[in-house]
């Protein structure tokens, strides 16, 4: 769709450019060879001046490439070597004096997230995953996940958390391995980085601002202008399907991971209507039936959310890696989508009946 729209827009723009007006013509003939030789001369002069300056000053003058007249590659003018030298100096001198014991560094949860095999009860405890809400605010269906009460709050059983998180990781890696589109959603402040990182690793989509209601049920209207592309099993673009894509229904995620289900109940409801499985972090006050695979944990602690999002992202990364390896070996792990106007079970963008447009409800 967007292809058509951009063409129209560009076409209008082209129409508004005024035609060039030739106001004067060249009076004398120009000798092209003399221009080239004069250019060569000026280049030689520049180079000789350069070498003079290099000898005299401490500042390194970047050399100029004779073809493009741009400064040379940073790998050749010494910048990379200087940087490497600095890095080696830092590595040596920072290690002198004392060894620092392993300790919590908040940024590493986003830059180097834990993998599913790193999930331990100690990690979950340190990330405050066991802290539930006030006992009077609980959802009784969560009683199966609660270990006990302390200081007026429910304590979530960490063994249960670990087991559910591992199961969710298995689901994510399975979906990724089969070429599914995973949507990571986390709309609370501070969750942006971990949501984006998880989506990057799983090669899926992310959302950290408000979910627009109807993006799945009314996708034909809300997401109709979004670009769709065709890729092969190596994730390379396959051109030539523009006509088929015009009628192709709007994409829906194959799995949704929601880090704060309480705020995103509309999204979860839409997923339920469209048979999209969901994974969600279920606190003691949340309804576990809202999601397909609940992870009983503390959704109010950013550290806990980052650990869980990181683990799920890593699981997605592993699934994608498996899919690529199998594709290299000639084994395509999914059934390719048929690209015809009469695609089954989809909603047509250009007309069709109401069942096609709005789904059966």
């Amino acid at each position: 769709m967007i292809i058509r729209n951009t063409f129209l827009r560009q076409g209008c723009r082209i129409a508004t450019i005024p035609a060039r007006q030739w106001t004067r013509c060249l009076a004398t003939e120009v000798d092209l060879e003399s221009i080239e030789s004069s250019l060569d001369n000026s280049l030689k002069e520049t180079k000789s001046i350069e070498s003079e300056i290099q000898k005299q000053t401490d500042q390194l003058v970047p050399q100029i490439d004779s073809q493009t007249h741009a400064s040379l590659n940073l790998l050749k003018d010494g910048t990379a070597q200087e940087h490497n030298k600095l890095q080696r100096h830092r590595k040596r001198t920072n290690a002198l004096g004392s060894n620092i014991a392993p300790h919590y560094q908040p940024h590493t949860l986003v830059t180097r997230p834990p993998s599913p095999s790193d999930i331990t009860l100690e990690l979950l405890l340190a990330s405050q995953a066991h802290l539930g809400h006030k006992t009077s605010h609980w959802h009784p269906m969560n009683s199966r996940y609660i270990f006990g009460i302390r200081q007026g709050i429910h304590i979530i059983s960490l063994e249960v958390t670990a087991a559910h998180l591992r199961r969710a990781c298995r689901v994510v890696s399975g979906v990724a391995e089969r070429g599914g589109l995973i949507l990571f959603v986390g709309t609370r402040p501070g969750q942006e980085r971990c949501v984006v990182k998880a989506a990057e690793m799983a090669k899926g989509c992310h959302l950290f601002e408000r979910w627009t209601p109807g993006s799945i049920t009314n996708g034909v209207r809300l997401l109709g202008r979004c670009k769709t592309k065709v890729v092969d099993e190596f994730d390379q673009n396959v051109p030539g399907y523009e006509n088929e894509l015009k009628d192709h229904p709007v994409l829906k995620p194959d799995l949704v991971v929601c880090l704060n289900p309480l705020e995103n109940w509309v999204l979860l409801h839409e997923c339920g209507l469209n048979a999209i499985p969901t994974i969600g972090i279920i606190d003691t006050d949340a309804d576990p039936t809202w999601v397909t695979y609940p992870i009983p944990a503390n959704d109010d602690s950013l550290r806990c959310v980052q650990v869980i999002a990181g683990a799920l992202g890593r699981a997605g990364e592993e699934g994608q890696r498996n899919r690529s390896e199998k594709a290299m070996a000639g084994n395509v792990t999914y059934t390719p989508t048929p690209l015809t106007s009469a695609s089954k079970g989809g909603k047509s963008r250009t007309g069709g009946n109401t069942t096609d447009r709005y789904g059966s409800q």
């Binding site: 000898k55 401490d58 500042q59 390194l60 010494g78 070597q81 200087e82 940087h83 490497n84 030298k85 600095l86 890095q87 080696r88 100096h89 830092r90 040596r92 001198t93 920072n94 290690a95 002198l96 004096g97 004392s98 060894n99 620092i100 014991a101 300790h103 560094q105 009683s143 199966r144 996940y145 609660i146 270990f147 006990g148 009460i149 059983s157």
Partner: protein, 302 residues
């Protein structure tokens, strides 16, 4: 799954008054984290068993390294507990507090830990000789290996009082002008640091002999002209002239002999690697790196 029984709920209504100090309950001394630890030397086991060549016996080595470094690291832990420096590398701590009189003790212990580790990292039970490339560098700066050795040991011997003597490589060395040689000898007294960013506390002079009126302060001419860290050098080698290292084996009069035996235990391959002679550079200096604030160090540059 809820494990609270009715009896517990009734008792929970009563006010909770601990009989012991709550701080002690949750943070007893035995449970405090010691985030700084003594680093592991490559040849620690060999040194502890046989001593360091002919330089130090096993007991002296254990005193000078294991005991002293543990003491320094322990003090460092105590001073940095529950602060942002608790997990920072020693070098970052010493550089930050080099100019702060209120944190003099923290600087001293961090700097001493850094210097002591530097000293022991260049020693080896099977030291490698000076390679031809290193010999060339030393000869170009000091006219010959023998004169370098003589100057170095004489400098160390002449220092009255504890300190370190360093072999440093200038990073602003200009190959073409050769106004100043590439390698130099630097002395640091007591717990002074050779690191450029800490050069407010380089302590290059012995205050017993060189103190004069007008020597310190912004108009003395001894204040660094450039911003901290702009005069860059790479410490390559050092000798520890603190008495606790050599007193047990040599007595008060044995400093010269200790220095000569130290020379024979130096692993010159490590020294050459520390100098980073293989990398091109130095003409540019580190001014650019500083301005753009590269890297993981808090603050800028090195």
């Amino acid at each position: 799954m809820i494990l609270s029984n009715p009896l517990r709920q009734q008792t929970a209504l009563r006010a909770y008054r601990p009989s012991i100090c709550v701080q002690c309950l949750y943070n007893p001394k035995s449970q405090r984290r010691r985030l700084h630890r003594v680093p592991q030397l490559t040849h620690d086991a060999a040194f502890a068993e046989h001593g360091v060549g002919r330089m130090l016996g096993p007991e002296s080595y254990i005193t000078a390294w294991r005991d002293y470094q543990s003491y320094l690291v322990d003090r460092l832990n105590k001073m940095t507990a529950d602060t942002k420096d608790a997990t920072r590398p020693t070098k970052d701590i010493l550089v930050e507090y080099a100019r702060s009189p209120t944190h003099a003790s923290l600087f001293n212990h961090a700097s001493m830990a850094w210097n002591n580790h530097s000293f022991f990292s260049t020693l080896s039970p099977t030291p490698s000789p000076i390679s031809p490339s290193l010999e060339k560098k030393i000869s170009s700066s000091f006219s010959s290996i023998e004169s370098f050795r003589a100057t170095f040991l004489a400098t160390a011997n002449a220092m009255f009082g504890p300190g370190f003597v360093w072999l440093v490589k200038r990073d602003d060395y200009n190959r073409n002008s050769q106004a100043l040689p590439e390698l130099a000898i630097l002395t640091t007294f007591i717990a002074g640091s050779p690191l450029p960013r800490a050069h407010y506390r380089k302590q290059e002079q012995d205050l017993n002999t060189s103190l004069q009126a007008g020597m310190f302060g912004p108009r003395s001419g001894n204040e660094p002209m450039m911003a901290p860290g702009a005069v860059m050098l790479e410490p390559m080698l050092c000798v520890n002239t603190w008495q606790h290292v050599w007193l047990h084996d040599y007595g008060f009069g044995g400093k010269r002999e200790y220095l000569e035996r130290w020379w024979d235990s130096v692993d010159w391959d490590v020294v050459e690697r520390n100098g980073q002679f293989d990398a091109f550079g130095g003409r540019r200096g580190w001014g650019l790196g500083m301005a753009t604030g590269t890297g993981s160090d808090l603050g800028a540059g090195r």
